[in-house]
Subunit: 429 residues, 2 copies
Amino acid sequence: MRILICPPREIWDNLCERPVIKREDLENSVRVIINSVKKNGDKALLKYSEEFDKVNLPNLKVTAGEILNSENSVPDELKGAIKIAKSNITKFHSSQLLSEEIIETTMGVRCWRKSVAIEKVGLYIPGGSAPLFSTILMLGIPAIIAGCNEIVLCSPPDKTGCINPVLLYTAKLLGINNIFKIGGAQAIAAMAFGTESVPAVYKIFGPGNQFVTKAKECIQQEGIAIDMPAGPSEVLVIADANSNPEFIAADLLSQAEHGSDSQVILLTDNTDFIGLVREEIEKQLSLLPRRGIIETSLSGSLLISLPTLDDCIDFSNQYAPEHLIINTAEPQKLAVKVRNAGSVFLGAYSCESAGDYASGTNHTLPTNGFARTYSGLSLDSFVKKISFQEITREGLSGLGPTIEIMAGAESLEAHKNAVTVRLKSIKNG
Amino acid sequence: MRILICPPREIWDNLCERPVIKREDLENSVRVIINSVKKNGDKALLKYSEEFDKVNLPNLKVTAGEILNSENSVPDELKGAIKIAKSNITKFHSSQLLSEEIIETTMGVRCWRKSVAIEKVGLYIPGGSAPLFSTILMLGIPAIIAGCNEIVLCSPPDKTGCINPVLLYTAKLLGINNIFKIGGAQAIAAMAFGTESVPAVYKIFGPGNQFVTKAKECIQQEGIAIDMPAGPSEVLVIADANSNPEFIAADLLSQAEHGSDSQVILLTDNTDFIGLVREEIEKQLSLLPRRGIIETSLSGSLLISLPTLDDCIDFSNQYAPEHLIINTAEPQKLAVKVRNAGSVFLGAYSCESAGDYASGTNHTLPTNGFARTYSGLSLDSFVKKISFQEITREGLSGLGPTIEIMAGAESLEAHKNAVTVRLKSIKNG
């Protein structure tokens, strides 16, 4: 942990820098995988499964039986929790539906936008030791609300050729049945270009390791849309003397356990508070199972005191954190000043874990400074907003001459003529 | 013009294919330009201006005097038209402001989203024979409404070192004063990375030639956001026996004049109608100044009859046109079936030129099939939607156990602990 007392603004840029992730050496191996899947389809997928997942799969698609059986392997308590989270996430994302307000911009000229679902979407859920079923909720629920026709889900199988039943249960709960046992760059390639078993989709969502991330970058260059660019997860916490150091330490630790590259920053206007948080971190850390990962990511963390809370929010806006926790006496006072952040948590009881799992907001958020330009995942990510216009005879009579003048000034005479022929026809009757 | 009578669905995929644009050979020259601007800043920009624009610029930034003088060179009639367009575009885009509805997903758990402007944006306006002032309206108005702090505009100078006064007048009308005489890939590089004169921005908008397009692709890979991927402009018109062939021909011709790579498609359920439209095209074409361009793009155009209007809308959804004109007796009947399109024009009097200039909708739209996943430009393009949550003590007491169960099941004990320490404190306190 690096402690800085009132670092001057000149070095903030430096403090806000993210670790540079070198992925160029990956590009070749990822392109080989993508081209192989493009060329050999399922055959390539089965070969990679043998190579990377160490399993000989009889079939890529999860069977109806496997999905059905998943129900029995998931404890009732966990099922109940997943259902509560589903309900909250559904409530919040349903509120994001665009109301089709029709605007009469001028007499007889009516314009509106309509949200229409992206027809085919692909969701990637990473494998590994723990089943990330919460990500199925975060990606699947808005896809379902949007009305995406075809939802394809890929996740790597374990060594016995199975996908964790909690993942299957969660997918089933949402009504997602098109599930494939495919991981890594090959899963991204399969959903991007389609194979005998896997339908091609138009947009691909979901987190993953550096192979998955690079594959998403590559297929984006070939015209398939992706959710957003990826980077290591981040939290920035703003605290003052009123904050409970035990809570703050727990929030910093929860971010640090994501991965050894996780970014953890504490800002406070109270220098003494830093010491209290450090003590709490030591205390709590000794009890946590992912100690190794946490220690590595904490070694790069910043604990910074600044003269005022306004300085803290300035720093935060410059850093543009994925998660911003404002745990101060009056969080709303700072909240209105947030310019760049993925998701903001206000007050002592709004811990990041709440948003990660169950409060209703999405946990897929812009990292790596992308919060300056990108929004987190929402219903918007699963729809296009198509604009419509309907102009009446009277409407064109009024607006037509304006269009003619502008088109003429841009030397686009055919554009002008499309109005002129209509105005003449109106005049003639 | 290629005429097809009831082509079978098996070949629709083929008919929907876009021309493949080979840009790989460009990549090297564009990367050289980008790196040179990164390294040498203004010096590189002035050198490229000499090389490409054939002018020795005394300064890159348009002076206040130049902007002020522009007022005198623009005819009053055109000023009036631009003001009407500005008013309509402002009305429609203002309606796109997100209302900050607070959702209480469960007792004591309040979630909402807030639109916050992208702080620094860059607008690129191409040069050439005609001044594309309409694009300044389409990019600048939502940027202003969103509240973007810093708006940088680049456009190439002519051989006398000037930017067309209509462009300057339009920018001034919107309140945009940060205008630079820079064109091509070097303009994109300057806005992406900044130079001594040009401020660096976070997101770059605007059309351009293949150098500009390739430069936008390159800087996107370096983490700067862009509006959307680009391709040749397109229109698909659906007409029936009730349509006026004169109007339809004019609409097809107006699209065809954009460039020799413009995509023009007519669909109708009435085979005879195709002949009428062809006659009208011949008649109108002879009077149009951009005949050469139009003839080239028409040579690749498709005039297709299909059994029913429903087949026409199916084809259109498969093609995913940038502009879709539904000029039939009952356009609303087909409008509800639109799944993929950038902007839709309903009825006999809603010509594409209206949306290109003055009805209020944006004319920056997804081409090349990207309408399957991307929306046209809107206020959304200039903001991030930041999610917020505020959980009360009671809220966390209720939701906390759910979070603990889920985090535990994902083996993220520190996530669980961030809730546990709070629940304990609530219990004890």
